[in-house]
């Protein structure tokens, strides 16, 4: 009898503790697969990179107790709706299609989408030029939607779990071109492995698919969190923190109104 009471008390306490802890913690989901220079992992298990620092700055400004939680990119939206995380800050573009399922904060960066290919190849970032070629893209990205919509008829679109694998196959010559974010690609072609290739230029914009920049994804109806994230983003843009972090990673600004 005594044992049962103890057990019940213990259970209640642990449930309460769990409830109390989760009330304060905001779990920020990032992609578990490294995405340099926005998020990369070092050997001691620490996440670093531009976006990781921006997350820290936004959370500090919004006075949120954020915990970075790596989640598989391909399942990141189900993880959000399934309540394993509270917000997605993994370079996710704000698109109308995604807004049918989740809400977004204001954007905190925006960059064009570019086509990268081998230096010796004469490729333009147009559907005509890519006809008959193999284009590699990362699954569940705006680039997949774009490539399917614009290149899907003429070119072979090959889908990778991570951009890193697509890059690797580009170097290996197993794909002819890849479409991805300009900053990530600038970092890649500047590295030793990416020396083979160059940025061939931005693809024609289609805001319906490519979206209006990158924002934090949140569950529908989680307005309190969206408000505080928006306040945090506005604060770091106003006080220069955003520009300061950006200047340490990139030579140009990656935010425009």
């Amino acid at each position: 009898m005594k044992f049962k009471t103890l057990l019940a008390a213990g259970l209640t306490a642990s449930v309460l503790a769990a409830g109390a802890a989760s009330a304060q913690e905001v779990k920020i989901g990032i992609a578990a697969e490294p995405y340099p220079p926005f998020a990369s992992l070092d050997a001691s298990g620490n996440w670093t990179g531009w976006e990781v620092e921006i997350i820290g700055a936004i959370c500090a400004a919004a006075e949120l107790n954020c915990v970075i939680t790596p989640v598989a990119w391909d399942g990141i939206i189900p993880s959000l709706t399934g309540q394993q995380i509270d917000a997605i800050m993994a370079s996710m573009s704000i698109t109308e299609e995604r807004m049918e399922t989740i809400d977004f904060s204001d954007p905190y960066y925006n960059t064009p989408a570019v086509i990268v290919a081998d230096k010796s190849m004469d490729i333009e970032p147009t559907p005509e030029s890519l006809a008959g070629k193999i284009v590699g893209i990362q699954a569940s990205t705006i680039h997949q939607s774009y490539a399917n919509a614009y290149f899907g008829d003429a070119a072979e679109v090959r889908v990778y779990q991570t951009q890193d694998e697509a890059n690797q196959d580009l170097v290996a010559g197993r794909i002819d071109a890849t479409q991805a974010d300009s900053i990530a690609m600038a970092d890649f072609v500047g590295s030793d492995t990416g020396a083979c290739c160059e940025i061939k230029g931005p693809v024609a914009n289609d805001e319906a698919i490519l979206g209006k920049g990158v924002g934090a994804g949140i569950r529908k109806g989680d307005d309190a969190l969206r408000e505080s994230l928006n306040a945090g983003i506005a604060a770091i843009l106003a006080d220069g923190t955003h520009a300061e972090i950006t200047s340490r990673y990139f030579t140009t600004s990656i935010y425009s109104e």
Binding site: A18, A32, P34, A43, V71, W73, Q84, T162, D164, T193
Partner: protein
């Protein structure tokens, strides 16, 4: 030592696999520990399901038997990858909805617990069949004798059925354990940091794909060989007193 590594061109690999940062060896070992923890939990959970499932299939009513038949057939026909995705997303979603409906906040489900429950359900289906076969292989007379002595059913289970079936169940269970260790690799798909995902992250960060994939393969291999040796001992122990299977008499 360093000279040998240098001449073999393995100096960079050794550096990458060093246990302390900037080497990634420590990460791989941490991933291995996570994998083993899940495999252990899932195997144990699967055994519990299997024990209930097997007794249900053998002694349960018609409805229980049909439900268990559906469970084992479905789980064994659908790829683990698909099951993991369904159980992982649906399971955590359901638990959260239930707990919110009951007025508690969100329940934190750690990756380990989710992994154990997903793989445990898969393991349970196979364990049910393995244990059912093993229980059926126990001579009926032994159980009838125990019953004749007036032993209660739980005691028969504990003192007669389980010890007697151990020798029949061990080879099948050894296989299940190996499947459990290898299936943890599939949790990489849902972003759980077990050995395969750690390997992938290390490979992506250093671009030394071959080094890390081979290292991870070697780690899995060690687990397999080591568990093989342990299960061989368990089987020998479970068979004690029984005539050797390789005996010449037929």
């Amino acid at each position: 030592m360093e000279l040998i590594l240098e001449t073999l061109g393995l100096a960079r690999s050794a550096e990458l696999l060093a246990l302390n940062p900037p080497g990634w060896g420590g990460n791989l070992l941490r991933g291995l520990a996570n994998s083993l923890q899940i495999a252990f939990g899932a195997f144990g959970f699967g055994l519990v399901i299997g024990l209930f499932g097997a007794s249900g299939k053998l002694y349960g009513g018609v409805v229980v038997r049909d439900l268990l038949a559906i469970y084992t057939t479905v789980i064994r026909a659908v790829p683990e990858l698909v099951l993991i995705l369904i159980l992982y997303y649906v399971g955590t979603d359901l638990i959260n909805q239930v707990s919110q409906a009951m007025g508690y906040g969100r329940v934190e489900i750690s990756g380990v617990v989710a992994g154990i429950w997903v793989l445990g359900i898969v393991q349970g289906a196979y364990a049910t069949e393995v244990l059912r076969g093993a229980i059926q292989a126990v001579p009926k007379g032994q159980i009838e004798a125990a019953r004749a002595y007036g032993m209660p059913p739980t005691m028969i289970m504990r003192r007669v059925t389980i010890p007697a079936m151990m020798s029949f169940a061990t080879p099948g269970l050894a296989n299940l354990w190996l499947i459990a260790t290898k299936d943890t690799a599939l949790l990489a798909i849902v972003g759980f940091s077990e050995l395969t995902l750690e390997t992938r992250q290390a490979a992506a960060s250093t671009r030394a794909y071959f080094t890390f994939f081979l290292a991870a393969g070697a780690l899995y291999m060690m687990v397999t060989l080591f568990s093989g040796a342990i299960f061989a001992r368990i089987e020998k122990w479970a068979r004690r007193g029984q005539p050797s299977l390789r005996g010449t008499s037929k």
